[in-house]
Symmetry: C2
Subunit: 276 residues, 2 copies
Amino acid sequence: MTVSELFENIRKKRSFLCVGLDSDIALIPDCLKDMEDPVFEFNRNIIEYTHSYTIAYKPNIAFYECRGASGWISLEKTVAYIRSNYPDIFIIADAKRGDIGNTSNMYAQAFFKYMDFDAVTIAPYMGEDSISPFLAFPNKYVILLALTSNKGANDFQLFENISGERLFERVIKQSLTWAGNDRLMYVVGATKAEMFLDIRKLIPEHFLLVPGVGAQGGSLQEVAKKGMNNSCGLLVNSSRAIIFADSSQNFAIVAETKAKEIQQEMGELLREHKLI
Amino acid sequence: MTVSELFENIRKKRSFLCVGLDSDIALIPDCLKDMEDPVFEFNRNIIEYTHSYTIAYKPNIAFYECRGASGWISLEKTVAYIRSNYPDIFIIADAKRGDIGNTSNMYAQAFFKYMDFDAVTIAPYMGEDSISPFLAFPNKYVILLALTSNKGANDFQLFENISGERLFERVIKQSLTWAGNDRLMYVVGATKAEMFLDIRKLIPEHFLLVPGVGAQGGSLQEVAKKGMNNSCGLLVNSSRAIIFADSSQNFAIVAETKAKEIQQEMGELLREHKLI
């Protein structure tokens, strides 16, 4: 998917919502637990009821990997299900991978060829050759961790050099020499809304994947005010607040309500910014 | 496994060799390709022929993940095979994971509970709460990326603050406030041998996992000279130079020869340091 197609989908659906499929098997509603693949059934239901309000789905790989091969089967089925039923959806592997070149290439094969994800999140610590294998795939994206939403983000991401440049800024600047916004996006946590203006100076055009709205306490209004650009430039993620809003047999309907609420708020923000 | 048990094994086998099971299916010898699970058969043969010279095995997860669920089955079988046949072997998941707390906990479950790895490599970018879930497991280890062996290591790991402290040094220092050497080890590339003395000032007692000997050009002699401590403190990894030394049906015997060569060199280095 190109960046302009992504923006077109955002305009069409009046939404920049990414739903995090952090489908922890321990939290799956009881009514699904006797099924052959409860996690896939859960995802399928969530997708059926939320896709109209959703631009992207983002399975966090940890919630699948913790179940070994059977978790990977749930993941593969989920990606294939989205791809064949809703080809306009942008699918993000929240994997936070990164390794030496020949190994990163194997991860790129896993997420871009073996499975048909559109994007994968990557940790930048190992530098360019750990990231470049992912950049070789046309219309696929590296979403580089820049400034994350968690408390530990302060440990190293704000580490500052003699010129006052912080590590996350160095990561962004350096990565701009590797590829353009047709290959790169960045993770910036909603809990860091005060940093969005600084970040937009460095990358006015790029899409940002923004976790941390909802359960982690970030504000959608603030994020839009400080981070939105002329092609929206935001994919705001919500996971638990949508998918685990209800644990009864109505879970999917409640998830729909939650997704729709966010989508309506997003629609207004897009209108305020004259993007629709 | 405790650190002193690990050192005992090193003394007993006169080796600090870690064999990297980077079992790329494209490089598996033809004679195995018609088997039901060629990667597992390859690993089983490599392990049978090299375990006497080997302290640790380190599957790099990318080489399994790129084959999806079937790759995970090969991985699970490999770990179970080592665990049940050679309980003294230290098994490292070279996964380079790291995510927000509740998600890192899922990864910890994957590697320490679902599979019975002894250690997992972690990227530090997201800070303490991305690492602490792994530290909760007794006799299991986080091997934190400090200074990696690849070219891209120079991009961010050497980023320096106003006091001349580099990012990898900050990572090491900060992590020492989280746990001791009964939970933490560090990745330091053999290609950075000149840095070992500085690193040993910060962490004289900890084990270092050292990739980059062999195919990547690092020197075992240099690493031992500058990095060995009173309980050895080194796990030196070799992957391709052992496991893919030969692609005929003699691959396992050739791997044994290569492993034995390295083990003999290691035995001499341990003797020189009066550890055996």
